[in-house]
């Protein structure tokens, strides 16, 4: 196996890149809501990425990566023509889709990525699709244009007011509802803390719906249980029973704490990566001088 080739890559926002990767078997099978697990190289870890879009005829899948740790940081050094060692999928269940009528999706940061295929699919199922996209600031917002192409209405907000309204996605959701808008269903994705707040707002506003969870995963096939989440008091394996669960039943607090389990090691890995990079760079420079 020589890996899976990157055929296009570009920057979407600060520290956020997209990749189109040749993975024909995944491209053929993927449905909205499903993800892949990738491993960059022989020493790499297995990490999940939502499949944002596919071009099945060309055998391509589109992934969006925000650099937050060692692996995602290293991923930013991969470009068109490079290959990543492993891509497996499509994993997880496809989003349960029906015609709810008025659907709202609430995206925080890169949470826009998993929601893009879902809004497309929801639109295809006849829904009126409304989107709220939030980010910390303008330079971190992604996919807004693509959401606008599909959705009936898109509202954006930033923490610092640099784009759209100033405030949180939950502020937008509550004020939209206060205008008299009745949402029949909601789907949210993004940082866990943001999904937690969104789920609370959904509960207040009596909007049932789903949250697309992002726990730590290893195999992605139900074999390890690293991805355990508690939903309505029951343990579920997010990689095979999710990644979407009843937003009103998820124990977000537990998920936040579980996602922090390797924080110390993540910092260490990043440090190691940077110092290793510096060492190699220095060695290369020294060689160049000789």
């Amino acid at each position: 196996m020589d890996g899976y080739r990157i055929v296009r890559d570009r920057s979407l926002a600060e520290k956020i890149r997209e990749y189109w990767i040749e993975a024909p078997m995944v491209a053929k099978k993927h449905r909205a809501g499903q993800f892949v697990i990738i491993r960059l190289h022989e020493h790499g870890e297995r990490i999940p990425f939502t499949v944002v879009q596919t071009e099945a005829e060309k055998g391509l899948i589109r992934l969006i990566s925000q650099s937050v740790g060692k692996t995602t940081e290293e991923f930013t050094d991969y470009h068109t023509g490079d290959s990543i060692l492993d891509v497996v999928g499509p994993l997880g269940l496809a989003t349960h889709m029906e015609n709810w009528g008025e659907l709202v999706v609430v995206a925080g940061g890169v949470g826009a990525a998993p929601l893009l295929p879902i809004v497309k699919s929801a639109k295809g199922s006849g829904n009126q699709v409304h989107a709220i996209i939030g980010a910390r600031s303008k330079n971190l917002m992604i996919l807004e244009d693509e959401f606008r192409e599909v959705c009936d209405e898109v509202r954006v907000c930033t923490d610092d007011g640099s784009h759209g309204s100033k405030g949180l996605v939950t502020d937008v959701l509550r004020s939209w509802a206060a205008e008299g808008k009745k949402f029949a269903f909601g789907i949210t994705a993004g940082p866990v803390i943001m999904m937690k707040a969104t789920a609370e707002a959904m509960r207040d506003l009596s909007i049932p719906g789903l949250a697309s969870l992002n726990p730590i995963m290893v195999d992605g096939t139900g074999m390890c249980g690293a991805c355990r989440v508690t939903v309505h008091g029951k343990t579920r394996f997010a990689c095979v029973e999710g990644p979407e669960f009843d937003a009103l039943g998820v124990d977000f607090h537990e998920l936040i704490l579980r996602n922090r389990a390797y924080r110390k090691q993540e910092m260490e890995a990043l440090d190691h990566y940077h110092s290793e990079g510096c060492r190699l760079l220095k060695a290369a420079q020294e060689l160049a001088h000789v």
Partner: protein
């Protein structure tokens, strides 16, 4: 020495297996048993009584001709001994290391009735190692391609056996594996200090040289279905997907940070190199006291790995007594020698965590053995009021695995039992779906390497007969 002149009345003691000392071996992942020298192997083989009616052969799930290969060792005909092993066992270097011989061949050994049984496992290992170290394992003569295509789902010992057997018969074999590396439990489950990667790799290499193709990162049922494989031109399919779904304890607090399934713990270390973090990217928690729950091979492996991560304190919690520990005896001894504390006759009731949901301990209750249960073992029952807490910062749950339902759920025409295992015809391994065969843990539930191989062997023979009864493939007729 000629066979006639052997003095069998001396009953010399069994040649002990040389091992790395516990203090030394817990510093790393080096293999613990060092293997016999040639002299030791000859000496041990001398102990065989060469019984007229050898019971050991019947005790071996694949019926290796044990007296024959021991005789070949005695006569210095090591290549012949290797060939004898390979006649019925395609993975001898692996079985010599991981089979529970004390329950199989060695349990039936006549010499073992009054004295120590002959160390068949150690000798099997020695021959297989000798073969590997003396040049590549010779390839059998492979007949002309038959033109039939076989898909194997899962690359554990069951799948590898079928792949090897059918490739040797001239079929075109492709193995589809969900993970990024082959060999199933042999790669992600059993640690290096019991089964060095090099041994597994050389077996994979042999199977590859037989012409078998491997495709990784394919979760059959999801990435591709069985019907799609048939549509792609495969004539028959073998399912050897194992029992990869971890059982959890279902006690409060089990989702605290620091509680792992054995599968996760083992996979991080064995498959992903977490013991070499940060050189490898996969981390493992840096704990001070790990409690492993369970008493099988998986529990012993997890405990011994935990010990090797940083020399920490490691305790085992098992609900029955030492006599019921299902792990291989050798592994129990190794674990004890390595300083693993055994808490027998106790069972977890709760995982305790702090305000950050980080594990701080595990509450257990003491157990007493009551009446025998269905398995014939005495049923452990909690002693009221006997709860106690073990302070710890990691728990590994190793209480068993069941079949992963991904493939069976995606294939409604595959009949399953209420345990989620596949229903097969015992003589052929045929499932309820035409052209589809199965064997190994996916049929038996979590069992052993040798049983998985034996099941693979049965299925391979039936699959061969099935294919040869099909109309000749067009490709073949054209040529």
């Amino acid at each position: 020495m000629s066979e006639q002149k052997r003095n069998l009345k001396l009953h010399p003691p069994r040649v002990p297996m040389p091992e790395v000392a516990p203090e030394e071996r817990i510093k790393g992942f080096m293999e613990v048993p060092l293997g016999y020298t040639e002299e030791q192997a000859r000496l041990e083989a001398e102990r065989c009584l060469d019984c007229k009616n050898p019971k050991c052969v019947a005790g071996c799930p694949v019926n290796i001709d044990i007296p024959k290969f021991l005789k070949e060792i005695r006569e210095g005909r090591y290549e012949d001994a290797a060939r004898t092993l390979r006649e019925t066992n395609s993975l001898p270097a692996i079985c010599g290391r991981v089979c529970p011989q004390e329950e199989q061949c060695e349990a039936r050994c006549i010499e073992g009735i009054k004295h120590d049984p002959v160390a068949v496992g150690n000798l099997e290992r020695w021959v297989a190692d000798w073969e590997r170290e003396h040049g590549a394992i010779p390839l059998p003569e492979i007949p002309e391609p038959t033109g039939y295509k076989v898909a194997i789902v899962g690359s554990g010992p069951a799948g590898l056996t079928v792949a090897g057997d059918l490739a040797k018969l001239g079929h075109d074999v492709t193995v589809f594996e969900a993970l990024h590396r082959p060999a199933g439990v042999l790669a992600y489950g059993i640690p290096e200090f019991r089964l060095p990667r090099m041994i597994v790799n050389s077996e994979i290499d042999y199977i590859t040289r037989l012409g078998v193709k491997f495709v990784f990162n394919v979760v059959v049922g999801v990435t591709v279905t069985l019907d799609e494989l048939f549509a792609e031109g495969y004539h028959t399919i073998f399912i050897g997907t194992g029992a990869g779904l971890p059982k959890m304890m279902n006690v409060p607090g089990e989702n605290c940070v620091g509680v792992f399934s054995a599968n996760e713990f083992l996979t991080r270390v064995n498959l992903l190199g977490a013991s070499k973090f940060p050189e490898y990217d996969t981390p493992i928690l840096d704990s001070r006291h790990t409690v492993v729950v369970g008493g099988g091979n998986t529990a012993m492996d997890a405990a011994r790995i935990a010990k090797r991560l940083n020399g920490q304190k490691v305790s085992l919690v098992y609900r029955r007594s030492i006599d019921e520990l299902p792990a291989r005896k050798e592994e129990v001894h190794h674990a004890q020698a390595e300083g693993i504390e055994f808490n027998l006759l106790c069972n977890p009731t709760e995982v305790l965590g702090d305000e950050n949901h980080i594990i701080t301990g595990i509450r257990c209750v003491r157990m007493a053995l009551g009446e025998p249960d269905d398995s014939g073992r005495r049923r452990p029952e909690p002693i009221p009021g006997s709860e106690f807490v073990l302070d710890c910062d990691a728990v590994v749950v190793a209480i068993g695995n069941s079949p992963n339902p991904i493939l069976t759920k995606a294939t409604p025409d595959l009949e399953v039992t209420k345990w989620g295992t596949l229903k097969i015809d015992a003589d052929t391994g045929a499932t309820s779906k035409s052209g589809v065969y199965a064997g190994g843990d996916i049929v038996s539930g979590a069992a052993t390497v040798i049983l998985a191989m034996g099941a693979g062997r049965t299925a391979a023979a039936a699959m061969h007969r099935y294919m040869m009864g099909l109309p000749r493939p067009l490709r073949q007729m054209a040529s």
